[in-house]
Symmetry: C2
Subunit: 385 residues, 2 copies
């Protein structure tokens, strides 16, 4: 049975960006303390966390220090070094969740897709790429365009290059530095995602969200997704299959393409709370951040039930070049019933940088189209310019 | 129009108990930073706030230090010294909200009742007490029992002594140290409260809550209260009248007796977020803590609409004597859909000390009786023993 003392258990988080910040925000009411490790002094999570260790993500001595002060380690960035985490965990006896092996599996998109395919998870047709011939062969087999992807290091669409024709193969490959893979381009109805949580001996999934991307960056998440029931059920079932492959406890963001025939094809996995799950803070009985805290501590998971239809919209830097962060004209957001502002505390606004988000919850009788319109209008009412 | 930068505005809070902690929790997503001043090292608010200044509540130099680092000062305790706050505010130019004059008005219950009565707010019959004769005269006029109250310093029922008969007058007066007043004992249907917010040029009131007290300590708040519509409307109207009397922005907790004839009689006022408003964190569109942050900064207030029927239950120290805080058997709370745990981070449990609370939200079709039963059962499932 779970017991709480003061000071409560401490979670050490590698990474102190907005995810670390929202983890700390969710941990506070539970009496759970958070220490973050991040190279940027006074990182976004710093004002909310108990403490920040200022160090690089792979600084083994600093991570050892974090581990000795924490009851469990977790990470909010895929950049965390799996081998360092493994070694520190073994030396200090402090567990790491999710398991660093999961990080390694996910880190290389080719390895990830192979493991998932082997586990029966539907994925778009894919193959490894050694040279431009492989890209051209993929176009022959899958038809143009195809999606060329860096196997490692990409997120927010970085490292993903659509290849429209065989003639573009060489140039595309050059633009992707390092090992690559190629995937069939899915002509999807919509993009959806499932936030799934692996607890000590349980798995929970949140209602599926529909994601609107532009330039491969998430703009809005709409919950519930406007998919039919069969698609919804299928997405939940596949998300559970994905979690069977992953080792260790925690929250995973699982992105799918919903194909015209209703099948869901796995797109990306993040072994951490995910931007497409930010809606859960107001929209679900338990937020993805609280679930992650519970999961890594081995506490029982909370209810993932929807509280009300919800739309989340990202506040991206609408600036031409870097400048000090300054969001103007907040009044409409602050005054709109059901709108909640989340500010990440970043010092500088950069073009399309995630600076915060706004969640709009509705009454049960409000359709998500209405909420989406309200959210977009609120997003457009503010500016970093 | 409101603008947000990083670092955001800073609120300096005199007092770092659970109210300061929940203020800091509510401020974080808004990008607002909180510095607390409290004499207890590592006070409940410390792990969540940006910083704690360790100093007595009336330490003028420390409060000046707080004021120079903050954009606005506020307080979470009535013990704050009105004259010190006034002087520091004048010297530093940092405003204090609510206005320290309000603190003084509320501080003395006799002054408070007189001012409110003069403003047309219904209050139980009351009079000042110089000696036991005055108490006996009150019994003659109002009938027994009467409520003898210390004019200053009482909270959670401390300093309130029911006097059952004239023979008890001397002893009761002795047990109340210092100046006293006496009130007619209201034979109420129920106790209700309104959390009201005074903004820059607006007043907002939350749905009224029904409060269950035992030994004059709040046990549960039930929202919406089981009062009829006329009572509800009357309570809101009187709450607005009360706020007209108060100077300065912020949240006020206003407690009423609901008389059998449907009139509401003012019982107590707190010039700060109030225990009977903790339900707003999950139950309302905007929490009382976020409203207080908005109000003291002069930001627009948020919606006070109910999100769903809600019951809050306090986790009080069920111990015989002081011992280290340790809450056992949390699993049922963690596993119950719609139940949310709030832990205050106090080091020691003491008999009936407020250690945390649990909020239970329901679906629209669930009656508050059902939620109340669930909340009480959850409260009884845990122990500090």
């Amino acid at each position: 049975m779970t017991t709480l003392r003061t000071p409560g258990p401490t979670v050490g988080v590698v990474g102190g960006g907005q995810l670390g910040r929202m983890l700390a925000e969710a941990a506070a009411p539970l009496g759970v303390e958070v220490i973050v490790l991040d190279p940027t002094p006074d990182c976004p999570a710093a004002p909310v966390a108990r403490e920040q260790i200022v160090a690089e993500f792979d600084d083994e001595a600093a991570i050892r220090d974090l581990a000795t002060r924490a009851d469990v380690l977790t990470f909010e960035i895929e950049l965390a070094d799996q081998q360092v985490l493994d070694r520190v965990s073994e030396e200090t006896g402090t567990p790491v969740h999710p398991d660093p092996a999961t990080l390694e599996t996910i880190h290389d998109k080719l390895v990830q897709k192979r493991e998932l395919e082997a586990a029966g998870v539907p994925v778009p047709p894919f193959r490894t790429v050694e040279d431009a011939d492989d890209v051209r062969a993929a176009i022959d087999d899958y038809g143009a365009p195809v999606m060329l992807k860096a196997r490692t290091g990409g997120y927010d669409g970085r490292g993903n290059v659509p290849v429209e024709s065989k003639a573009d193969a060489e140039a595309a490959l050059e633009s992707v530095a390092g090992p690559a893979m190629v995937e069939s381009f899915v002509d999807f109805e919509r993009e959806v995602s499932v936030i799934a949580v692996k607890g000590d001996d349980e798995i929970a999934t949140f209602p599926i969200g529909e994601n609107v991307h532009e330039d491969e960056i998430l703009r809005e998440t709409i919950v519930p997704a406007r998919s039919n029931e069969a698609v919804t059920e299928r997405a939940h079932a596949v998300a559970r299959d994905v979690l069977e492959v992953m080792d260790g406890r925690g929250v995973y963001g699982i992105e799918f393409f919903e194909a015209p025939d209703g099948e869901v094809l796995l797109n990306e996995i993040a072994p951490r709370p995910h931007n497409s799950g930010h809606w859960t803070i107001e929209g679900a009985q338990t937020s993805q951040f609280e679930q992650h805290v519970r999961a890594v501590l081995g506490w029982p998971l909370g209810s993932t039930a929807l509280r009300s239809p919800t739309v989340m919209t990202n506040l991206l830097g609408d600036v031409e070049e870097e400048r000090p962060a300054q969001l103007s004209d907040l009044d409409e957001i602050l005054e709109t019933p059901g709108a909640n502002l989340h500010w990440y505390g970043k010092r500088a606004a950069r073009p399309l940088r995630k600076m915060g988000h706004v969640t709009v919850t509705g009454r049960d009788d409000e359709g998500v189209d209405e909420l989406l319109e309200r959210a977009v209008s609120l997003r457009e009412s503010v500016t970093f310019e």
